[in-house]
């Protein structure tokens, strides 16, 4: 009676196609610019991909529960400036980072309560709260940069330190992904996030405390965005208000490229998405193209991936196989 799971194969096909695409893009860049495959450039690629993958991971949680968050980039500005302010006040890096992340968590809770409890429309409500967060980010410095103690507090180590010669941001991203993968793919928590995203009413009737999980998703998204931006600021060696604004596009692009591969938001998919986007960006940077060309390419990638995610290859294959099993007399009514 027990049969092997056959679903995997069709997923492998999509994954194969995706890898071919990734390798193809890398080939094109190598032909255009042989330095693309140099160790230096590849390490740079890793450094570029890591934060995009990280911020995308946070957004994946919100996407899995079926919502959108338009505030995390604004909130990351506030979290980053909070951290910078703490550093400038003479606080040591670790507590400063924790306070910055905590500021993000507070906004995540507000988002989650607005949407999970009061059922406000997610896009508009988060955009509104994001604007508030961005406005509040100005409170610390009135719009100028914060640089005090950035060079002597040790906060720069967050970006420059290496673990076994791998940059710390890359290591942190890898750890975050390992945790994220276990939570979403292997734990009871992940099941509940996915259940809510698929049918929140049925999840509630199944005993899932929906509000709590919606709040948790928005908190994770906001905190991860803040941490990403804090790493960015330690790289810039200053608190820069608008530094966080850049995270919106790569996060959504990474998540939706992932959805186009796996047909639902997944940890793996978001990582592959970030890798693809990072590769394209890095290539354009190396070719000396200006940033607006990059923005343009990112926009195209996002739209193409949404279109592809609407085409349900997997479902088509699955239905065909199911019918074949029916025809073969698999005892299915």
């Amino acid at each position: 009676m027990v049969q092997r799971r056959k679903d995997i194969s069709s997923e492998l096909i999509t994954l194969g196609v995706f890898c071919a695409l990734q390798i193809g893009i890398m080939r094109v860049f190598t032909v255009l610019e042989p330095r693309f495959m140099s160790v230096d450039n590849l390490l740079g690629l890793l450094n570029l991909v890591a934060p995009m993958a990280l911020v995308g991971l946070g957004l994946t949680f919100v996407a899995v529960t079926g919502y959108a968050d338009m505030s995390f980039h604004f909130v990351s500005c506030f979290g980053g400036m909070t951290m910078s302010h703490m550093i400038a006040q003479g606080l040591s890096p670790l507590p400063a980072i924790l306070i910055g992340g905590g500021a993000g968590a507070a906004f995540g809770v507000i988002n989650g309560v607005m949407i999970g409890k009061f059922k406000l429309p997610d896009m508009v409500a988060t955009l509104g709260l994001g604007a508030i967060a961005f406005g509040m980010a100005y409170l610390y410095s009135g719009g100028t940069q914060i640089t005090d103690h950035f060079n002597d507090s040790g906060i720069k180590l967050l970006y420059t330190a290496r673990v076994a010669s791998i940059p710390l941001p890359v290591v942190l991203t890898a750890i975050a992904y390992a945790v994220g993968f276990i939570v979403l793919n292997r734990s009871t928590l992940g099941r509940r996030f996915y259940a809510i995203g698929s049918n929140a009413t049925a999840a509630r009737f199944s005993g899932v405390r929906v509000e709590r999980y919606v709040i948790a998703a928005f908190v994770i998204c906001a905190v991860v965005a803040c941490l990403t931006n804090i790493i960015k600021m330690s790289a810039l060696a200053k608190g820069e208000i608008e530094a966080g604004l850049m995270w919106l596009m790569p996060a959504y692009s990474a998540v939706f490229v992932g959805v186009s591969v796996f047909k639902k938001p997944t940890v793996m998919g978001t990582f592959l998405g970030a890798l693809l986007i990072g590769t394209v960006q890095k290539g354009f940077l190396l070719l000396g193209k200006s940033t607006y060309v990059m923005e343009l390419v990112m926009g195209v990638l996002l739209i193409v991936s949404i279109v592809v995610s609407r085409i349900d290859f997997k479902e088509i294959i699955r239905r065909r196989r199911f019918r074949a099993e029916l025809a073969a007399g698999g005892g299915v009514s």
Binding site: R186, T188, F205, G207
Partner: protein, 504 residues
């Protein structure tokens, strides 16, 4: 013989596993109000959907005013002069009355930008009011109107079609107050006088005698009787008998043993405005059946008991211990599980696998360290549930959406069984389930009742009667019958649910 307004003959409509209409006939005379009656699943709503173009009949003929017609789409039905007003008419709330009346037919000119002449539309709408004088402000947004006023707008919309000759009213009174029903009946009489033939679908037998000239009773996809409402020997009891027929159409498992101890005891449960104080108990070895029509409060009762809606009064005890059930999560943690009535919306996560669904309410059973799912155990648990309930699925990793209705329902039940609860409430347990799978579900419910408290709630009178050991009937938010099943006949139970009055 006088020409009929509408004649439907030999109508057949099949769905997978069910023959909803089996050679049905229906005859409508000019200018009459004709009530269409039948229990759930008798085929009356399928007949109306065939008539209004929602479904296409597999066989049969439809003749309108002596001319044979083909109804291939809702638009074709409207063009032929058949208008349908559903229970809760769909309108655009921010548009005014007259805008809703002419929605989609605002302009005679066809161009890239057909102009809407509001004054002309309003004048046309006022013209309709002369034909059909109802007291209603057509310039107010529909969202601000009362239920009966919306109903009137929907009727005006139907009248705005020049050739409209047959009007179908599908349970028009289910959301109206007593006073509003009076207003609606006045309007129906006016329409009748203007020569329009009306098909009136209802569950409320009192209304049949108030408004209808003739009635047709449907059962098992066929019309079993058509007669004048004033005919001799036609009363509530006779209609209930006709609706049910002689023998039960399904085989139900034998009745249970004399009751054991109470598992669930509910005292004075109430939800203000929806249903009043209701008390009941569920005992081991015994099935409690709660019958009520749509709108009788059974749906609210289930949801309130399960903690989806927040009760305004009442105490729930499980195994003698008082429990506060403020959410489904609380209810499940305390051993109460609801198999909800709307499976797709409330019961199942359709896109996910059978295994995902089965363990969803009690994942701790397959989790290590309290939160890591052991996938091998998960598969084994899901397989054992598949075998226990005889769920037909190629694999436990198959998405629930790919299964048939009956097997989907079994997955939802399996999710409940996997919580190993104390009390199970089944709401409409066999809606959308094919005949073959029904018997299996009935037997499973009976088996389960041996050592759990079981309550079956629904609007299918026959099913509730066939299953239960103790019968409760709800009508407009209150309990109107509460007796051992052995002391009740099926006709009494149905009659009680239809009229709210228990008769001997």
């Amino acid at each position: 013989m006088e020409e009929l307004s509408l004649e439907m003959t030999g109508i057949v409509k099949e769905f997978p596993g069910v023959r909803a209409l089996d050679g049905a006939e229906f005859k409508l005379e000019h200018g009459e109000v004709h009530a269409l009656l039948g229990i759930n699943g008798a085929g009356k709503s399928t007949l109306i959907k065939v008539l209004s173009g929602v479904y296409r009949a597999d066989a049969g003929q439809i003749t309108l005013n002596g001319r044979q017609i083909e109804i291939s789409s809702p638009q074709a039905a409207i063009d032929a002069g058949i208008a349908t007003v559903y229970q809760d008419p769909q309108m655009i709330p921010s548009f005014t009355g007259y805008e809703n009346i002419f929605l989609g037919a605002e302009s005679e000119s066809t161009g890239l930008f057909p102009r809407i002449r509001r004054k002309k539309l309003l004048a046309r709408a006022r013209g309709l009011l002369e034909k059909f004088p109802v007291d209603i402000d057509l310039t107010r947004p529909v969202g601000e109107l009362q239920a009966v006023e919306k109903e009137s707008i929907a009727i005006l919309r139907a009248l705005s079609r020049e050739n409209m000759s047959v009007l179908v009213l599908d349970e028009p009174t289910s959301i109206l107050t007593r006073k509003e029903i009076g207003i609606l009946f006045e309007q129906i009489r006016m329409l009748k006088e203007s020569g329009i033939s009306i098909i009136y679908i209802t569950h409320r037998l009192d209304e049949v005698f108030q408004i209808a000239d003739r009635l047709t009773v449907f059962r098992d996809g066929r019309n079993v009787a058509t007669c004048n409402t004033s005919a001799e020997g036609i009363d509530h009891a006779r209609i209930a008998e006709l609706m049910l027929g002689r023998e039960l159409s399904h085989v139900y498992p034998p009745k249970g043993q004399p009751p054991d101890d109470d598992v669930l005891s509910v005292k004075d449960l109430a939800l203000a405005g929806r249903f009043s104080e209701t008390s009941f108990t569920a005992k081991r070895g015994w099935i409690l059946g709660v019958f009520g029509l749509v709108g009788s409060g059974i749906d609210d009762l289930c949801k309130t008991l399960f903690g989806v809606l927040h009760r305004t009064a009442g105490v729930t005890e499980i195994n003698g211990r008082k429990v506060a059930l403020a959410s489904p999560a609380d209810a499940i943690a305390n051993g109460l599980f609801l198999v909800p009535g709307d499976r797709r919306a409330e019961g199942q996560i359709s896109d996910e696998s059978v295994a995902f669904n089965v363990i969803l309410s009690n994942m701790a059973r397959v989790a290590g360290l309290g939160f890591l799912i052991r996938r091998r155990e998960e598969r084994l648990a899901a397989w054992s549930m598949v075998e226990e309930l005889d769920i037909k699925t190629p694999d436990v990793a198959a998405a629930v959406s790919l299964l048939s209705g009956g097997n989907q329902q079994k997955v939802v039940i399996g999710k409940g069984l996997y919580t190993d609860g104390e009390v199970y409430v089944f709401q409409e347990p066999t809606v959308g389930v094919d005949v073959g799978a029904k018997a299996g579900i009935y037997e499973m419910i009976r088996r389960l009742s041996a050592d759990k408290g079981v309550i079956v709630v629904g609007s299918d009178c026959e099913e509730i009667y066939g299953l239960c050991d103790h019968a409760m009937v709800m009508y407009q938010g209150r309990v109107v019958m509460d007796k051992p099943a052995s002391e009740v006949r099926l006709e009494q139970m149905l009659l009680c649910g239809l009229t709210g009055k228990a008769r001997e």
